[in-house]
């Protein structure tokens, strides 16, 4: 009987078996996602409509109260402002340094691998170690930074005790930590450019500066956009560096969005309010991602073909 149904029947049977195997293969990942991504995602939305200190069972529904309180809170806006300052400092700084390193390393440099390894060292160093070491380097009295500045006759500031300087120190450390990572991405992009382009340009009499602006730059544009996206998303979620270096101080001048969230949630135990802080952050990240997906998608079409 089965034989009479022929190839089609066997195919159908195979297809349903294939689906079963597919679901089986997906099962472990799906269970983890449901438990620790989907459920927490909606649960935190639920929590954000309640007022709750987890020490007591009291959990009154407050509707949009947490959101209203949040948008009216000067400390929240301060955290948003600090996050933006951090992001605006980190993006151009890291992009410029990493692109610079990549371009300088790209061609005709002997010992390139050694240099690349050195530039990459901070990337593989634990962020907490980086933060600990740099907070000592920025120490007002005994830190390396001010001792070196002293050598050239400059009396350095008490870095981590002055609002503006503290943020500058955090941004500098972030750039130092991450430039090597993005430099390797840029290097890969540069190596992806066919030599042919440059040979043609040389034949046309273009000098190296012209070559850079007419060949390298346009081809790097998409990669740069990608780096900027990654930097933006990471900057909005910065926590560790600030937590270890300054704890958000002095005077909350380095307290970022996630540091604020952590303080509200796990120091003041205001779980509902902190959930609202998290949801607003999620919404902003979503907007950035959608905006940049669209932007980069468009770019790929323009350059790729």
């Amino acid at each position: 009987m089965a034989r009479e149904e022929g190839a089609l029947g066997r195919y159908r049977w195979y297809r349903s078996r294939e689906s079963r195997i597919a679901y089986l293969f997906l099962l472990p990942a799906i269970v983890i996602f449901l438990l620790f991504t989907a459920f927490p995602f909606f649960h935190s939305l639920y929590l954000s409509f309640h007022k709750w200190s987890i020490l007591t069972p009291n959990k009154p529904f407050v509707g949009l109260g947490n959101y209203r309180a949040l948008f009216a809170n000067a400390d929240f806006w301060n955290a948003v402002k600090n996050t933006l300052v951090y992001t605006l400092g980190v993006i151009p700084g890291t992009t410029a340094c990493s692109l610079g390193i990549a371009l300088l390393l790209w061609k005709g440099i002997k010992g390139r691998n050694v240099l690349r390894t050195i530039y990459f060292l901070p990337v593989i160093t634990s962020l907490v170690v980086v933060a600990i070491v740099w907070s000592r380097i920025f120490d007002a009295q005994y830190g390396l930074m001010n001792q070196l500045l002293d050598l050239v006759g400059i009396h350095g500031p008490a870095w981590l005790y002055k609002p503006g300087w503290a943020m500058a120190a955090v941004i500098f450390t972030s750039i130092w930590k991450n430039a090597g990572f993005y430099a390797v991405i840029f290097l890969a992009g540069l190596h992806g450019i066919p030599d042919m382009y440059y040979e043609c340009a040389k034949l046309d009499g273009a000098n190296s500066i012209q070559q850079f602006f007419h060949i390298t730059m346009p081809l790097l544009r998409r990669l740069t956009a990608l780096v900027v996206v990654m930097l933006t998303l990471n900057s909005f979620k910065v926590f560790t560096l600030v937590d270890v270096m300054t704890g958000g101080g002095p005077m909350r001048s380095t307290e970022t969005w996630v540091n604020y969230l952590y303080r509200q949630g796990f120091q003041s135990l205001r779980m509902g309010y902190a959930s609202a802080v998290a949801w607003v952050l999620f919404f902003v990240i979503l907007l950035i991602t959608l905006f940049q997906m669209k932007y980069i998608g468009g770019k790929r079409d323009a350059i790729g073909q």
């Binding site: 600990i132 005994y142 290097l187």
Partner: protein, 283 residues
Amino acid sequence: MPSVSDNARVFRKSVGLTLRYVVLIIGAAIVAFPFLWMIFTSFKEPADIFSRTFRLFPREWNFSNYASVFEFIPFASMYLNSVIVAMVITISQLFTSALAGYAFARLKFPGREVLFYAFLATMMLPEQVRIIPSFLLLKQMHLIDTHWALILPWMAGPFAVFFMRQSFMDIPQSLFDAARIDGAGNGRILFRIVIPLTRNIFLTLGIFTFMWSWNMYLWPLVMTHSMSMRTLPVGLSMFQNQMGTNWAALMAASVMAITPIVVAFFLAQRKFMEGITLTGIKS
């Protein structure tokens, strides 16, 4: 005449090249100096550290700072915790994402597109949105302050699934057809053909997952509280509070914390670089 302009060009070129070297070496010095400072400080005496004038090398080499780290924190157990957590997360992520990636790349089933995009969308969810409910969930499961609280939620990752799917899609269809004809089932195809073929992908993803989980900070900060459960990064940041004024011990702990990773990096440097290149291109 042409020889003059040639000379000028060669000269310009060599000046340019020298400049490039100078900038690169200054940059490398800025990057490397903090490491040297950290290492030398870890051998200094307190009086040597708390001096206002710059001095890179210790006046006297003091090795006892390294021993004092072990006096104050359970450094070995923190190390062990980090290794356990990072290893288990890495291996299970590779396993779950290989299975899921294979299903998405090579199997046809109802709801494939929807599920895949659902997975992709979760990449956008910041860890911070999930942390409070995850804490409550793990509390319900009585897993707070255990290794499981650090491992379980990260046993599958959307990026790993996405990465695997993309890599598996690059494998020519003819290989699968040949295997099917030989009567191989999906499990066999995945483990005998696909995985050996994509060994490099696994290595790359493995390195990245390991590095990421080795450096996890916020999650273990919230999910564990006893010293015996602390991983290296959290333990170090506590050590900084506890021994904040003992710089030498702090630097000694830092040196010990990063050494294995740095050594591993020197040994597997090419793979690291290839890995970043691959992730950069893939995403």
